[in-house]
């Protein structure tokens, strides 16, 4: 197993050669990946909004944004500029503190969760031992923010939306966590890096999607519900609730919700790729490819190519899932709140429990194939 390029180690080494002590060099390095990830996530979310517009337009036989920049690519930038320059209104008779904290409480955990998303063997902010569990934990903070937003707005639509969002997030957290647990059980680790490594070696055949045919479906449905995407977007159901908990929000606070929801979608797609689609692994193993092309796998240039390929593949998988989510948005009608809870508690939960049990059994019977 090659380690791939380790930017942190080489960066610190360079600074130590310049005469900095090890601790200081590490301190200089520390903010860089954070800034990079925050910027990257913002850009990814903006690209997601653009894709949403374009793919939605194509699905409806329209063109979509076209004149703002090439293919309307500057639309997200214009959105951000508009929302930044708008007046920040706090409506009368709201709870100003809760009202202001709520969007931050929704936004921060989502961006924080990106620290465990790996783009390569060492291309991750921290390889936490609890990795994927951190995401599950952080994503359960969001309902508090949504509930706060709904309550603080002092608006019945907002309150209804907030309540729905909380109910939905809490009930879909469980099948989500259980389907993740099945994957974790197979990889014997909660670390996202280990989960990907466990899938590596056999290219597309080694991916968890073949070992978890039910699990990935449960995960995707639950992830869509967590992100409040179309078939499950009833917290924001515009026909019934105006915009749910977002109704009273404007300018920057609205932007936090908006960016948060798209960042959450990207996060879910990325984690889907990590859990089931082999993360940064290419469909044809890179080491095998290197062997065929007769290239030394430890050559620096090959390492750079492999790392970039890993990042591109991770993003490609994530955006493929995003595309699927947008297609689903224009295919599936919105479910009612009782149907939503029925699906969550009476269908997904038992199925995911059975899936977990089955995975455990298979792991005992075929320890080779199911990571004994």
């Amino acid at each position: 197993m090659t380690t791939g390029i380790d930017l942190q180690a080489s960066f610190i080494q360079i600074f130590e050669q310049l005469g900095l002590p090890h601790g200081a060099a590490k301190l200089v390095w520390l903010p860089l990946p954070m800034i990079l990830i925050v910027t990257a996530v913002t850009v990814l979310a903006l690209v997601a909004t653009w894709l949403e517009r374009k793919v939605s337009a194509a699905a409806q036989q329209r063109i979509g944004p076209e004149f703002m920049g090439p293919q309307g690519m500057l639309v997200p930038a214009a959105d951000v500029l508009k929302l930044l320059t708008k007046e920040d209104v706090i409506p009368a008779k709201t709870d100003p503190w809760l009202y202001s904290i709520a969007p931050i409480l929704v936004f921060v955990p989502i961006f924080l969760s990106f620290i465990i998303v790996p783009f390569g063997q060492n291309m991750v902010i921290t390889d936490l031992g609890v990795g994927i569990f951190l995401w599950v934990a952080l994503s359960s903070i969001a309902p508090i923010g949504l509930l706060m937003a709904g309550y603080a707005s002092n608006n019945k639509y907002s309150l209804l939306g907030g309540l729905r969002a909380a109910a939905q997030s809490i009930s879909y957290e469980i099948p989500l966590a259980l389907s993740i647990l099945a994957v974790v059980m197979m990889s014997n680790s909660l670390s996202t890096i280990d989960i990907v490594n466990q899938q590596s070696g056999y290219g597309i055949l080694g991916w968890n999607i073949w070992r978890q045919p039910v699990g990935f479906l449960i995960f995707w449905i639950a992830a869509l519900a967590e992100c409040e995407r179309m078939p499950f977007d009833l917290p924001e159901a515009e026909e019934e609730l105006v915009a749910g908990y977002q109704t009273e929000y404007a300018s920057v606070k609205f932007m936090l919700f908006y960016a948060g929801s798209y960042a959450n979608l990207i996060l879910s797609a990325l984690l889907f790729a990590v859990l089931y689609l082999g993360g940064w692994e290419s469909p044809i193993p890179v080491s095998w490819l290197a062997g065929v092309l007769n290239v030394n796998e430890t050559a620096p240039w090959f390492q750079v190519v492999a790392a970039s390929l890993g990042i591109i593949l991770t993003l490609f998988k994530a955006y493929l899932l995003l595309f699927l989510a947008i297609l689903l948005r224009w295919t599936v009608p919105r479910v009612r709140i009782d149907q939503l809870l029925d699906l969550g508690w009476k269908f997904l939960l038992p199925i995911s429990l059975v899936n977990l049990l089955l995975t455990a059994g298979l792991k005992l019977v075929f320890p080779v194939a199911f990571g004994g």
């Binding site: 194509a58 699905a59 409806q60 036989q61 329209r62 295919t331």
Partner: protein
Amino acid sequence: MMKFLKQVTDYTKEAVQAAKYIGQGLSVTFDHMSRRPVTVQYPYEKLIPSERFRGRIHFEFDKCISCEVCVRVCPINLPVVDWEFDRETKKKKLNHYSIDFGVCIFCGNCVEYCPTNCLSMTEEYEMSTYDRHELNYDNVALGRLPYKVTQDPMVTPIRELGYLPKGVTSGHDLPAGSRRAGQLPEEILAQMEPKAPKEEAKAAE
């Protein structure tokens, strides 16, 4: 036990069926993505209005006999006919005529009933103004002819659905000289004519 098993199989069947339908729906949505957009890029492309289009009303001042039929058939008595009786010629003399298009519903009753055909419908529909009083057209404004979409060099004219060749559903990128489905009245007549004399001859015998 058997009842429980049956319930389980039924439930599974339903779930599989639901998944199948969602898959079918997804394939339909996906199929739509590769289709050409049906939208008309409005300021750059415009649809050619059909010949029965009920747009802004055109008025010919000299033809009008001030009979006020248009006022009577109008649902809201909208046209304003300002005339006076000329004692020398013993005829009504029209001074002014106006229709307020901010109020008009373009029903075409006035055009239908005008005895001298001095009213007609044009294909003009872009009449937005900043002040609604500007929509009150007098006889000069009513006498203007609209600019045709097909003659505007800035605009790509797009044919409407009813004017496309058979089986074609998009007005974009039509081959030159393509005709609408069906035949013109003249052509139908030309086809009928060779038969007609024979039948007449038979009738004479």
